[in-house]
């Protein structure tokens, strides 16, 4: 009995143990599947078909729908065309921007979230410590500070306030009603949830653009150059005006204004430039094109406008395309996901576009602190108090980091000591304060709001006065047959070369001295030559009374555009489209004859001679199938490297290389220059030596990497064109594709950089737009509209854009309708 009882108990215990063990294993399994390990998403949460990624797989057929949205004042009709491009018809402006926010969030929520997070220095919250350096950089360079100031500017104006708030409400309505299964796939992969949208996020997007287009700096490297080579060589190698140039405002244009007095150089600047004491390659070609031909050059008699802004291409597409209509506006174009209004586009009266102005709106100032507490700094012959701003950076899986940033009256001291500076920020000086126009209060959306409604040249000019940064070449055409271009933005009033080097922050003479008045920014209207254009080159010739920058983008694309437009007659949309795909190399035209002249065939091996035959037959186009382009490209880069590496490649000190333009001048006019000598060899090299050596080395490199000349040598194969997903996720981008173009030709597609939107607008009684961007309207990798426009873009074609005159206009291209009703 006793034993039996015991036996029974043991038997039960054994069963209990088995049961508990099984339960424990099950719970552990579920926990493991619900938890994020390292880079991998929580596997159960991600894969299960009820709420995981399978839910993001969309069908091709999206039917019409009707929704009730609280916050709307009236009814909004959104008509979707065959590419899922929305055409919004609202009964008032509030609802128009509300709907824009709502549908942009529907298509691009994750992109909006990650881009504003990145700008705000809040990536570590979701990505953990590996994002800490980038977050700290964004915080310390004052992205948050700048966005807060811009927000003030936007909210002061009652018009932009309504626009921003309505847009924000629209986004938030979408987020509030979003169930977990409908989260964009990236939220599921990275395991976090969307948060409320805030008006400041719209400002963050502007800061991000400023960072991309006007956030770089070579002043630290230039200051090092000055220490290494002295003022004479630096002035010679880094001139204030390029050798080859064809400026945006045609040479000889008269300045019909009385300029403000130009500030006097500070005494230390003069000392720096006359002192006898001996005290990274910039990637050229990132920029954009735009041009307009006057009616005199077009077949229709009305102007034609073209624009293709170049950016680092990513999926989801950088731009969001749409038509926006209310009783005050009817406009078509592209917007930034997360920001209201159309940035580049047209209505039935005007069209406009932008390219970047290389204005120097970012300067560094040396700061002298009183002591290590860094509470006071020397300025204007006295000690001044610094401001300290504490940045709380939240880090996934760790305690938050509290980072104190010192602000002088110039701006933030980005890195106060060596330990704060990560390796990838080689170009940022330590202990220096940053003055950046993107820190200032501004209201850029007003510019776009007004352009969207613009009717004529005067409206265009007025809109530009609201614009701060990043400075853009605003190009314009109207149905009144006016054409114009204006390098525009808030541009500091400076003495010549102010900010070419790091400045002494204690001298008031080194501060910015106000601004160039908006009506004195360079501009030209209806020039005699019958066209205006820009490709990031110098804004003006040397007669312009103000200093904008000492260097601009190379002239190559601008020159080619102007050469072609000069001879163009009876142009049509097709002529513009072909020009946007032009691969002709101005550099090859400028330097290839000289390179050939110095290349003595008797000194070449058999392989080199074969390559020489190819390049001799080359038509100077960077076409995908061209082998000559590959040889020339490698040759020029070797020539450039062999000319400057011996002096400028320095592991210990960051130096700025002379430009391609200066190198061209050296080759074409200074073949006896001392810079050709390789200082690491006892022999004295000449231009001829460098030309031959670089050609031999280039051909050898091609042979080593790609074997015998043939298909593998083709430019489309060698040039790695690709578009990555914004988070670099494999399988979510395009992978490598073969395409023509390169950095310094009109079709500036190289690596992951290139035309992010190509647009051509034919003005006339019925304005007609054509456009394409790489990718698609949807940001969802599981949508048919994620990259449905990619192939059209890759082939250099444009889609005719559907501009609906009225809400109920019939069109076979409309595939579905979404009605948004206000809640009853």
């Amino acid at each position: 009995m006793h034993f039996a009882y015991l036996g029974h108990g043991q038997f039960n215990l054994m069963k209990l143990f088995k049961a508990l063990f099984s339960v424990a294993v099950t719970l552990l399994l579920i926990w493991a599947l619900q938890t994020k390990f390292g880079e991998a998403p929580p596997i159960g949460a991600f894969l299960n078909p009820a709420t995981g990624f399978w839910q993001n797989a969309e069908s091709k057929n999206i039917s019409s729908d009707s929704l009730q949205l609280d916050g709307l004042q009236g009814r909004v009709t959104i008509r979707y065309d065959e590419h899922r491009i929305p055409h919004i018809f609202a009964q008032n402006d509030h609802d128009l921007y509300y709907a824009q926010g709502y549908i942009t969030a529907r298509d691009r929520l994750w992109q909006m979230d990650i881009q504003t997070r990145s700008a705000a220095g809040r990536l570590a919250e979701i990505a953990g410590p590996k994002a800490l350096n980038i977050d700290r950089y964004h915080r310390r360079m004052g992205m948050t500070y700048g966005a807060e100031n811009t927000l003030k500017g936007m909210m002061k104006d009652p018009v932009t306030k309504v626009v921003i708030e309505a847009y924000t409400d629209g986004v938030n309505h979408y987020i509030r009603h979003l169930s977990k299964r409908d989260y964009p796939i990236e939220f599921k992969l990275l395991d976090y949830a969307p948060e409320q949208w805030k008006p400041i996020n719209c400002a963050y997007l502007l800061k991000l653009m400023s960072e991309t287009l006007a956030g770089g700096s070579d002043q630290f490297a230039m200051t090092n150059n000055l220490k290494r080579f002295g003022a004479k060589d630096v002035n010679d190698l880094f001139p204030d005006y390029p050798f080859h140039e064809d400026p945006i405002i045609p040479v000889g244009t008269k300045w019909d204004f009385k300029p403000l007095p130009v500030p006097k150089p500070s005494s230390d600047f003069i000392a720096q430039m006359t002192d006898n004491i001996k005290p990274k390659e910039r990637v050229p070609g990132i920029g954009s094109n735009n041009w307009v031909i006057a009616g005199s050059k077009s077949a229709s008699g009305y102007p034609i406008l073209a624009n293709d802004p170049h950016l680092n291409l990513t999926f989801p597409s950088i731009w969001y395309q749409l038509q926006m209509s209310s009783p005050t506006v009817n406009v078509y174009g592209v917007s930034l996901p997360g920001a209201p209004c159309i940035v580049i586009g047209y209505n039935q009266k005007i069209s406009w576009g932008v390219t970047n102005v290389d204005a120097d709106i970012l300067d560094w100032y040396q700061v002298r602190f009183k002591d290590n507490s860094k509470n006071e700094y020397w300025y204007n012959n006295q000690w001044n108090k610094v401001k300290k701003r504490i940045e709380a950076i939240h880090i996934r899986g760790q305690k938050p980091l509290y980072d104190t940033v010192i602000y002088t009256h110039h701006g933030p001291v980005v890195y106060s000591n060596v330990s704060q500076k990560p390796k990838e920020r080689e170009n940022i000086p330590i202990g220096d304060a940053l003055r950046w126009v993107a820190h200032d209060e501004s209201d850029e959306f007003m510019t776009f709001y007004l352009l969207n409604r613009g009717k004529n040249y005067d409206d265009y000019r007025k809109a530009l006065t609201y614009y701060t940064a990043p400075a853009q070449n605003f190009i314009f055409a109207s149905n009144d047959k006016d054409i114009a271009i204006t390098p525009n933005g808030k541009i500091p009033l400076k003495f010549k070369d102010q900010g070419k080097f790091i400045m002494d922050g204690s001298a008031p003479a080194n501060d910015w001295h106000g601004w160039i008045p908006y009506d004195q920014n360079p501009t030209v209207k209806n020039p005699a030559r019958g066209f205006v254009s820009s490709a990031n080159q110098s804004s003006t010739d040397q007669t312009y009374p103000y200093y904008i920058n000492w260097r601009f983008e190379l002239y190559d694309r601008g020159k080619r555009i102007n050469d072609r437009l000069k001879v163009m007659q009876n142009a049509t949309v097709d002529s513009m489209q072909l020009m946007q795909m032009d691969n002709y190399s101005m550099r090859a035209q400028d330097v290839l004859p000289a390179l050939m002249k110095y290349l003595d065939p008797s000194k070449l091996g058999k392989r080199q001679l074969e390559a020489l035959q190819i390049i001799k037959k080359w038509d100077k186009h960077y076409d995908a199938s061209s082998e000559g382009a590959s040889i020339f490209n490698a040759w020029w880069l070797k020539f450039y490297g062999m000319t400057w590496d011996d002096e400028f490649a320095d592991k210990k000190m960051l130096l700025n290389y002379p430009s391609f333009d200066r190198t061209e001048k050296l080759l074409l006019t200074e073949s006896n220059s001392k810079w050709f000598d390789d200082i690491n060899t006892p022999a004295k090299e000449t231009c001829t030596d460098i030309v031959i050596r670089s050609f031999t080395a280039a051909v050898n490199e091609l042979l080593r990497k790609y074997g015998q000349p043939g298909q593998k040598w083709q430019w489309g194969n060698i040039k790695d064109s690709h578009i990555n997903h914004l988070a670099g996720l494999p399988g979510f981008g395009t992978g490598h594709f073969s395409a023509g173009g390169t950095a310094a030709v009109i079709n500036a597609l190289k690596g992951g950089n290139g035309p992010s939107w190509r647009m051509v607008v034919q003005m006339g009684p019925q304005v007609k737009g054509y456009g394409i961007f790489p990718g698609g309207e949807s940001g969802n990798p599981g949508s048919y509209f994620y990259e449905d426009l990619f192939n059209t873009w890759k082939d250099g074609k444009l889609n005719e854009l559907l501009f609906l005159g009225a809400e109920n206009e019939k069109s076979e291209r409309i595939k579905s309708t979404l009605i948004l009703n206000k809640t009853k």
């Binding site: 299960n48 091709k60 990798p781």
Partner: protein, 124 residues
């Protein structure tokens, strides 16, 4: 012998069917791990042996998840599944489907097993 087999099959079918139906329904409005609770209680109340419970649970959710995934994926031409397969460096999207189904099956199977074992530990 024959009676015994038919009896067993019936019980497998019963448990299997209950889990299939409940996990199908719950998938539309409850978190994914609810299948574990479903399988656990189904086996607790009508599970018989360990093997029967595990395989009923496994098979039911394996099938349910495969169907649910295909329901979304086929109209999508499996485009997204292909991208995700590339992301995880798998040669083919079928692998993603298989892993999805296996995970669901395993969770459900283990839960059903736990359910029947707990029942056995408390009864008797």
């Amino acid at each position: 012998m024959t009676t015994f087999l038919t009896d067993q099959t019936k019980k497998i079918n019963m448990l299997f069917l209950v889990i299939i139906i409940l996990s199908f329904v719950s998938a539309y409005f409850l978190p994914w791990w609810v299948v574990a609770i479903v399988a656990f209680f189904a086996a607790f109340f009508i599970g018989k042996t360990s093997g029967q419970s595990f395989w009923s649970g496994f098979g039911a959710v394996f099938i349910v998840w495969t169907l649910l995934a295909l329901f979304k994926s086929i109209p999508n031409d499996n485009m997204l599944a292909k991208r995700v397969a590339q992301l995880f460096q798998l040669p083919n999207w079928i692998w993603i489907l298989l892993i999805t189904a296996l995970i669901g099956g395993l969770v459900s199977g283990m839960s059903a097993l736990s359910g029947v074992l707990v029942k056995k530990a408390f009864k008797n």
